[in-house]
């Protein structure tokens, strides 16, 4: 089983991202589960959401304590929240940032990757909504979910032009991250 | 008689409960005074004031409990409450 934790701020679409990863993973043939860190969250407050992926049906209902992957939607969260908490040493932390991974030091051997998701979102979608962009980066960095599956899940959730633009942004983030991982 | 689900029953069960037996005082009309104003019929809590064909009223002594509301409210004092002989 692979476990993903997404850190964001209320209103940034962290919960939607977790859901869409679950939808996309299932389309790929995996079993999946997505849930928010249930709270009385407000816009701007730190939030978390989780996705589990497995080859067999998922029965576990506890929160995620030792994630394989962490996605950080907003780098300013790193000062407020221990985003690396519990991550496996074999894991990967994907951060939305214009800076190189070397700029981020965590008390963990997990791999750190960065992608300037805000820039990609502004260029393509026209708004700084980074959740879908980071899903593209996640696909490239982890190979857990096919980028087409993610794009399809996003297009189904947001039909029309918005979905198309998001799919384009996902593709962009995917190819940029693929280059970085070579 | 067995209990139906939730005790649902046919309507009109109060008809079998003849409350006239509760009465201590019996209302009597003085038709010389009665103006057919209908107030007694409207106020009777037991629907025991029945209109006749001539427009005057009779009491339904099967159900009248003798509460005296009609006599108390009659504007021309046309109703007298007399002690039941038991």
């Amino acid at each position: 089983m692979k476990e993903i934790r997404i850190h964001g701020r209320g209103g940034q679409g962290s919960v939607t991202a977790a859901e869409l990863l679950a939808v996309a993973a299932f389309a790929d043939g995996k079993f999946s589960q997505a849930f928010p860190a249930f709270g009385v969250e407000r816009r701007g407050a730190p939030v978390q959401s989780f996705t589990r992926l497995n080859d067999k049906p998922i029965r576990l209902r506890s929160q995620v304590y030792q994630p394989d992957y962490v996605i950080v939607q907003d780098p300013t969260l790193i000062e407020v929240v221990d985003v690396a908490y519990g991550i496996k040493d074999t894991g990967t932390i994907i951060i939305n940032s214009e800076f190189n991974p070397e700029n981020f030091k965590f008390d963990s051997n997990a791999k750190v990757m960065t992608v300037d998701a805000t820039k990609i979102a502004l260029d393509i979608i026209g708004r700084p909504i980074v959740n879908t962009v980071l899903m593209g980066a996640f696909s490239a960095a982890t190979k857990q979910i096919k980028p087409e599956s993610i794009a399809n899940a996003v297009k189904n959730r947001f039909p029309g032009k918005i979905g198309e633009k998001n799919a384009e942004a996902i593709e962009k983030a995917y190819s940029i991250t693929m280059e970085a991982t070579v | 008689m067995s209990i139906t689900p939730g005790g649902i029953c046919k309507p009109g069960t109060t008809i079998s409960n003849k409350t006239g037996g509760w009465r201590n005082f019996r209302p009597i009309y003085d038709y010389d005074k009665c103006t057919k104003c209908k107030l007694c019929e409207l106020l009777c809590p037991d629907m025991s004031v029945l209109e006749r064909e001539d427009g005057y009223y009779d009491f339904d002594y099967d159900y009248c409990k003798g509460c005296g509301l009609c006599a108390n409210e009659c504007p021309v004092d046309a109703i007298e409450m007399i002690l039941e002989e038991k």
Binding site: A34, F35, P36, I58, R59, S62 | G6, G7, I8, K10
Partner: protein
């Protein structure tokens, strides 16, 4: 008895638990829905409102009301006309319905209500435990508890079948853990409309409010007959035990999915330790049982699906060869220091020749997470009971000593 899921992935889709439940309600063809939104039930009634607005539930009225008390009161009248009724609530909303719950069951009216289990105030808390539905234990409602969102949605159809059975005629609560199930996205088969048309026949009754054939509802019962009303309700609950089994069996036959009848058992046959619980914790317990079994520990799981009627005989059979029973309760009777399952388990075993120890743990209050490690620690304590007897019959789990 094993869980049976024909993992028909082609039929599955990934949706939120609340949507799955709302969809199941839709295909059960209700006539009247009345509910008042309250976290974490909100998504269910939002989805249903949308279905109604889109014309997807024909011949159905959604009654807007100003409180949960009114919602259920409105459904008393609706159900009396022979309408199939639905509501959903949680926590404070269910508490506010308390008085009407007795009216519903005493009038022997069928309906189904989803309880999205949540803790009660004070202190105010919107997260999951099962204090809300457990506190309505004696209201005469059937109570079923679901393990995952497939079961929570499929249980809607089963609950209507049980509730509307002529030998039962009692309202039913389908309980699902708040957030943990109501807000989770996972793959499931949305309740099939064609199969449900076959499974769930229209509700028919000889007793209904009808101006053309007037009847008196809500009759008065004085001391000469009130006892018999209660006796008849108890008889209906006794009959409901078999009806829960039949509803599950018929469901399995038709849909190919099965979650147990009044109970479900997992690895109990040779178990030294049997964990007993209700609701979404069952999934985590299955994983823990598998892990411990792979380490040679003989642990089993008893899932209670029907809390009312309480499946005393089925449980006695399931536990007859075990060394210790562990009740895990997301509720507590303050002043007795026991959760409901612990109390009921002890009570059904007394006066029998089964005298294995029963211990209980208060767990998951107000949304406190239940990691696998917590369960493993509980199993460790149960092993100690086998070795050296009971030291604590009932205790709180994962208490934060720093706050006390």
């Amino acid at each position: 008895m094993a869980i049976l899921r024909e993992a028909d992935k082609d039929k599955m889709t990934v949706v939120e638990g609340s949507y799955a439940v709302a969809h199941a309600v839709k295909v059960c063809r209700p006539h009247v829905i009345s509910a008042y939104p309250i976290t974490p039930q909100t998504h269910i009634v939002e989805e249903l409102s949308q279905f109604i607005a889109d014309g997807e539930i024909p011949n159905c009225a959604y009654m807007n009301v100003e409180s949960e008390f009114s919602a259920l009161s409105a459904l008393v009248g609706s159900a009396a006309t022979g309408a199939r009724c639905y509501s959903a609530t949680t926590s404070q909303g269910l508490a506010l319905m308390h008085e009407v719950l007795f009216n519903f069951s005493g009038l022997r009216l069928p309906m189904v209500m989803t309880i999205v289990n949540r803790a009660l105030s004070a202190p105010i808390n919107i997260w999951n435990d099962q204090q809300d539905s457990i506190s309505q234990r004696d209201t005469g409602w059937i109570q079923l508890y679901a393990e995952d969102i497939q079961e929570a949605s499929d249980m809607i159809a089963q609950a209507y079948k049980i509730s509307e059975d002529k030998d039962v005629l009692l309202p039913a609560m389908v309980c699902m853990d708040g957030f943990i199930l109501s807000h989770v996205y996972e793959p499931l088969v949305l309740l099939e409309e064609d199969l449900t048309n076959e499974y769930l026949k229209p509700y028919e009754t000889n007793y209904k409010l009808d101006p053309k054939n007037p009847l008196s509802f809500g009759a008065f019962a004085d001391p000469s007959s009130y006892t018999e009303f209660r006796y008849l309700q108890q008889q209906a609950m006794d009959k409901a035990i078999n009806k829960v089994e039949e509803a599950a069996d018929e469901f399995k036959e038709l849909y190919g999915r099965y979650y147990g009848g009044v109970i479900d058992t997992y690895m109990t046959e040779d178990a030294d330790i049997i964990l007993c619980a209700m609701g979404s914790i069952i999934g985590t317990l299955r994983d823990v049982v598998d892990n411990l079994r792979s380490n040679g520990k003989k642990v089993g799981l008893l899932k209670v699906r029907a809390f009312r009627p309480f499946p005393a005989e089925a449980i006695k059979q399931a536990v007859s060869n075990t060394s210790v029973i562990v009740a895990l309760d997301k509720n507590i009777s303050i002043g007795l220091n026991e959760g409901a399952l612990l109390t009921e388990l002890k009570s059904i075993l007394y006066n029998t020749n089964l005298n294995m120890p029963v211990i209980g743990f208060s767990i998951g209050h107000g949304g406190r997470d239940i990691p696998e490690k917590t369960i493993e620690d509980i199993v460790q304590k149960a092993e100690n009971v086998i070795k050296s007897g009971i030291s604590h019959e009932s205790e709180f789990v994962d208490l934060r000593e720093d706050l006390i």
